[in-house]
Structure formats: structure tokens, C-alpha cells
Symmetry: C2
Subunit: 425 residues, 2 copies
């Protein structure tokens, strides 16, 4: 095999971009049967201080210095966001350049279009870094003879870090978030992570690659972790569960459920044991084969490694292969699902409150598995929590019941519902 040279234009020199530059330098020192040459890097500000040393003649603020350079055959996009990433990637593909991107937000929205454009122009489109924890299974899933029946994963490092720290440090959400922001484990605007969007982006991309469903992002039910308190983590533990932000897809016959929300996972299950920035993915296919993997969900090296794997695929002449696109299924609305539920009510400490709440639940066909009611209110007007774990019930009925319960004068504030999910392994 002759030596293959890949000439690269890099968009973005943040943490991940810096990691890529560093790893490329390191990689090129080894003598392989391919070589990576970094031709140009597009940055926003030329004179910013950077942790990785980069020759200044490589830097530019002008996109066209990459896009219109015929020598550059491969574009790496790690600037994130929709615009101008979308225009950059589409133009690169149209000019016949391979593209490697970590941009799950973009892929979740127009992945189908990007893949079509890549195939049309005979380009490689590398998306491993969009699912940095689970991409190692994606390639294999593309060739899987069977459809996935169930997919459950923990895909967001920030959320898993926050939930783990809340338990360890016995602190509430907001104070843990603040500390995570200080050390760079959460963004200054953390909404994308903690409100579940990032997890949903990854889920949509993963489903397209693993199952062949290119779902509109809007069809995914998304709920984040803002309302989880330290108290909930404690109660969940008492009941034998940990709280995780999960991505869930379930297929039965022609019905597909796709959702992102916090869930109680039984303590002894694999997903419950993921700590800090560790992410995980579990799958069961239609013949019952169950597979799981775990890997770091964030970080300079994991992401840059995923990008480099795609570069090596390009160097080795791997062709882009799309999974068979499956016919569209009936997407269940969140109200149509069934689940066990963890419910937290904040109630005034009065006689008969428990009876009232259980009465409403009973009239909605929701039966109760366990109840925790502890302590006395210190003052007659302050509230105490009542925790209930239900048997499997319909979501719509449960939400209905909750509305009625929240309207009771003895119930203070909005009650909290967290779904229970068994996981697979």
C-alpha cells in the first residue's frame, strides 16, 4: 500500500480543535502508511492565546481559504452550532471534500440531507465524534442484520457528572451546577446539556445510524434534570434506584417510543453504575441479543480520538455506507407510554392527606407499590414530602391524576414525576 496523504482544513480551535491538533502532531511522529497534513485552521480571533502551539501562518478567519483550496481534501468541523456549520459542511461536500464533524445538533436536524449530499459527491462523512461514547458500536450496528427493539443510554457527561456529584456531595442541583461551571464541566449557558437537548441530538443521530430512522428532532420527548433535588436522589436510593438522564428508544411492532428524561434505574443495573463523565449505551435486538458499552462521554482526547478514527477511515479509503433507511413507524406520544412512576408531593402535614392523594391515584387506575412519608413539618404551614412509587400505569392517566392532586389545597407547589426505567443489562 502506498503512503496516503490527507490534507486537512480545520474549522474551530477550541478544546476539541486543540486536541485534534495535538493528536495529529503526535500521530504524524509515528511512521504509518498514511500522513495527515494540517493545511489551514479557521478561527474567530487570530490573536487569542491558545493552549496548543500552532504556527501562526496556519490560522485564518476566512472560510474560503479552506473551502476554495483545492489541495485540501478533508474538512473537520468542530465549531458547533447550526450556522455557519451547516453552510461550511454543505459547501465542502459540494466541492467534493470529505467532512468529519462532531456537530450532533446539526446532524440531528439535517443529517439525512448531509448524508445524501456526501453520497452524491462520493465523499466520506465522518460523524463518530457526534456520539463520542457510543460511536464504537455504530459501525457494527450499520451492518446488523436485525432491528433494535430497545436502546437505552446515558449520553450526557455534564448531567451524569452533576447527578453523581449531587449524591456524593449531598448537595442540591444548583450548587453542584455552579461548581461544575467553575471547573469547566458545564457550560456558562448549561441549557443544552441539562435540559436534555444534547442527549436528544445524540439519540436522533444514533437512531439514524443504528436503526435507519431519520426522525425529526421535534418528535422526541425531552425533559431535563433541573427539577431533580438531592432529596429525590436520597429517596430513590432508599427505594433501590439511582437517577440518571436517559435516552430511550423502544420499538414494538409498528410503534416507536423515543424520549429523553431523568429516570429511576435499579441500583444493580449497569447504567445506574455510570459515574461522573462516564456514558453508556445498551441495546437489545429483535432476536434478543443484548449488548452494552461504556466510555467517557466528553473530554478533549475522547472526542479528538473519534475525529482521528474518521480521518484514518478516509486515509484507508473506507467508503461511506448508510444503514438501510427503514419505513416510518407510528411514533408514540409521551401520553401513550406506560411506565412505573416515582412521584413526589409536597403536602401540608394534615390528617387525611395520604388518603386523598391515593384516592385520586386509585380513581385513575394507578396502583401504588411503595410509599415514603417521613418526619413532621416544623411549622404548621411548612410542607413535608410524600414519595410514591407506582406500578406500571398509563402516562396520560398519571399526568391527569397529578394535575388533580396539585389542585388540592393541602398540596404545595408542583408535584414531581420521574419515570422508572429498568435498563437492559
Amino acid at each position: 500500500m502506498g503512503e496516503k496523504v490527507v490534507r486537512i482544513g480545520l474549522f474551530g480551535l477550541g478544546t476539541v480543535g486543540g486536541g485534534i491538533v495535538e493528536l495529529l502532531q503526535r500521530k504524524n511522529k509515528e511512521k504509518g502508511d498514511y500522513e495527515f497534513i494540517l493545511e489551514k485552521i479557521v478561527v474567530k480571533h487570530l490573536d487569542k492565546e491558545r493552549p496548543t502551539s500552532v504556527p501562526s501562518h496556519l490560522l485564518t478567519t476566512n472560510h474560503q481559504e479552506i473551502l476554495e483550496n483545492p489541495k485540501i481534501d478533508t474538512v473537520i468541523e468542530v465549531i458547533g452550532g447550526i450556522n455557519p456549520a451547516k453552510e461550511i459542511i454543505l459547501e465542502a461536500l459540494r466541492k467534493g471534500k470529505n467532512v468529519v464533524t462532531a456537530n450532533k445538533a446539526l446532524l440531528a436536524r439535517i443529517g439525512s440531507q448531509l448524508f445524501r449530499e456526501a453520497i452524491k459527491n462520493d465523499c466520506y462523512l465522518g460523524v463518530r465524534a457526534s456520539n463520542v461514547a457510543s460511536y464504537r458500536l455504530i459501525e457494527s450496528l450499520t451492518f446488523s442484520p436485525f432491528q433494535i427493539e430497545k436502546l437505552v443510554g446515558v449520553f450526557n457527561a455534564t448531567c451524569n457528572y452533576i447527578l453523581t456529584q449531587m449524591e456524593k456531595k449531598k448537595e442540591n442541583f444548583s450548587s453542584v451546577l455552579e461548581k461544575a461551571q467553575e471547573i469547566g464541566y458545564a457550560e456558562q449557558d448549561p441549557s443544552n446539556d441539562i435540559d436534555g437537548y444534547d442527549t436528544a441530538h445524540k439519540l436522533v443521530v444514533l437512531l439514524s445510524l443504528a436503526m435507519g430512522y431519520f426522525l425529526p428532532l421535534e418528535s422526541v420527548f425531552i425533559e431535563g434534570i433541573r427539577r431533580i433535588s438531592y432529596q429525590d436522589i436520597l429517596f430513590a436510593r432508599e427505594l433501590g434506584y439511582r437517577i440518571k438522564l436517559l435516552a430511550i428508544a423502544k420499538r414494538r411492532d409498528n410503534n416507536l417510543e423515543v424520549r429523553v428524561h431523568p429516570a429511576l434505574v435499579p441500583m444493580d443495573k449497569e447504567l445506574a453504575q455510570l459515574e461522573g463523565i462516564e456514558n453508556g449505551l445498551e441495546l437489545r435486538d429483535e432476536v434478543g441479543v443484548e449488548v452494552g458499552m461504556r466510555a467517557p462521554g466528553a473530554g478533549k482526547y475522547p472526542t479528538a480520538t473519534a475525529i482521528l478514527e474518521d480521518l484514518i477511515c478516509i486515509a484507508k479509503g473506507r467508503k461511506l455506507i448508510l444503514p438501510q433507511q427503514r419505513r416510518y413507524l407510528n411514533l408514540k406520544k409521551i401520553g401513550e407510554i406506560e411506565s412505573e412512576y416515582y412521584l413526589r408531593f409536597n403536602v401540608l402535614d394534615r390528617v387525611g392527606v395520604l388518603a386523598k392523594i391515593s384516592g385520586i391515584l386509585g380513581s385513575h387506575n394507578i396502583s401504588i407499590k411503595s410509599v415514603i412519608q417521613k418526619g413532621k413539618a416544623k411549622k404548621s404551614l411548612s410542607s413535608v414530602p410524600i414519595i410514591m412509587l407506582t406500578h406500571e400505569a398509563k402516562e396520560e392517566a398519571t399526568q391527569d391524576a397529578l394535575k388533580k392532586i396539585d389542585a388540592l389545597p393541602v398540596v404545595k407547589g408542583k408535584s414531581l414525576l420521574i419515570r422508572v426505567e429498568e435498563g437492559i443489562l
Copy 2:
């Protein structure tokens, strides 16, 4: 994309072969962009009863009906063993046929030759089924920019099932093995599994694909689980460990350790939690990225699924890509490794025995972390166990010390040494 037809000759119609036939029938009912046609099946006995219904005109005992049929473009080999599998695969490749095989024993011996032959004849050589639990990571590892520093896995379903059952049923090795044989979880001649050979085969194949080292099978240190007693499982648990048969590869600078043996794994580690036929693999690469996966290590469907994935690769025109072959490293001999050790001595219940044993260990620079000595011998001549967990020590020194201890008149039978392995995740 036009419809691609793959015409298959199948060697072997045992459990896995039957599973393949069943899954191919099932798969062909779906309308995909490819079709699999089973042209011929070579069996040993034409008139054997079979669980899967197969048209009798497909069956033959004559290899050449597949090998010399120009219509057949792909050969599946699931007869196992070295001969005639070796001749079948080589002849098929030389005739330009793609080959899909589950034969880890053969691949561990002449994998390098088979891959060269495949590349030479522009054929695909599918080996996913040779590592049925971990093949999903292999594809990705082939493109990994970085070398693996450490690889630890549980690769043998039979052994893991036996060790799990010993703990659950509180029974000794031989009675659990017998029951496993009755239900088909262990072969009538179980040596290949329980003496560690199967694990070593998988490790050698995995290292060739993941790291580019085609190691001679003889260079792997192999020790099985025959000497593990229920007592050891109990003592290990008391010390906070589970006993697993591990495949281990560690690289540091220019040194490589490759070994298969039972090991004490800390209870809270991922690998310690694998139950029954579940297998697992953990990796750490040179930039510190840690990845793990678990999947069933045996069974009709998992193995047949792996075979079908390779068939789909063939249908989709995937080219065989070999990992970069790495330069040969210094292979450590087992005596050169360092480890913590679990040691079991059977001693007569006499004054001063513990002092004698610890004296010998001390003089070999082996320091003791924990000791368990329990109960009294019922008769003055019967022995009691002493368990010791050491700090990290040199294997050679430890083996030396063991020989000296075994020569003491108060020590009965051969002492047992089990290495401790932390795992990764």
C-alpha cells in the same frame, strides 16, 4: 443501489450452522437491498435429525460441491477445528471466494496467512464470529489512532457460567461442570474451554485485529480454572473479590504481557459483575481513553448474528482492511510479571506454621496484605486452609517461595496461586 445477491456455501450444520440457516430464512423475508441464497450445505452425515428444517437437496458430504461451484461466491465455515477447516478456507480464498468463519482456534494459529491470502485474492475474510462478545469493538479498533496500553476481558462463556454457578449454588468445580455438561453449557470434552485455550485463541485474534500483533499462540501464558474450589470463591468474596478467567494484555514501552488465567477481580469492578454466559472486554489506550463492552459470549443467535453481519458487509461491498501490523515487541515471560497474589496453603494445624510460611515469603520480598486462617482441623492429621493476599510482588520470586513452602512437612498438597487483576472500569 441495485439488489446485491450473495450466494453462500455453508460448511457445518451444528448449533451455529442451524442458527445461520434460521436467521437467513428470516432475513430474506424482509425486503432489503440484498439477498442471501444458501446454495449448498456440507455436513458429515446426510441423514442426521436436525432442529432447523433444511431442504435435503441442499445437503452434501462433498466439499467440492461448494468449493468448485463457481456460482458460490461466499463460504461460511462453522465446522471448527484445524483440519479440514484450514484446507477449506485456503482453497475457498484461492478460488476467489469470500470467507466468513467463527474458527478462533484456526485464526489464532494461521490468521496472518489467511488474511494475506484474502488480501491477495481480493476477498473478504469475515471473522466477527471468532470473538462473538467483543467483535463490535474490533471494527472501530482497526481504525483507532492509538495503541492499546491495556486490554482485559472475560471471553469464555462456559468458564464464566461455571464460576458464577459455583458461587450461586455453593458447589465445587467438578459437580458444576457435570451439570453444565448435562445442559449443553459445557462440551463433553471441556478442556478447550476450562483450560483456557478458547480464551487464548480469542485473545490472539483480538490482538491481531486490535493491535496489529500476530503473536504465536505458544507465546501466551495459559492457565485454566480446574483448580478453583468453592472455598476459594468464598475466601475471595470475603476479601472483596470475585474470581474470573481473564484474558490480559498489557503494553508498556517495548514490553508486552499476554496471559490467560483465573484472577481475583475487585467486586465493584465491571468485569467482576459479569454473570453466566455474559462476556466483557475493557480497553485503555495510550492517551488514557477507557472503553468497555459486554455481550453474550455464546449461543446460537449471538454467533449467527456475527456471521450475518459479515455477510452484510460482503453484500454492501465492504473491503477487507487489515490493521497496521506493528513491530514485534519484547514478550514478557510469566516469571517476569508483577502482581498481587492470592495464595492458598493447606496446612496441618500446628503451632508456628504461619510464622514459617510468612518467613519464607518475607525472605523472597513478598509482603502480606491480608491473612485468613479459620477453624480448627477436626483430626490432628487433617489440614486447614491459610489464605494470604500479598502486595505486589515478582512472579518468579512468588513461585520460588511457593515451592519452598510446599516442601515444608506441615504443608499438604500443592498450594494454589491466583493472580489479582484490577480490571479497568
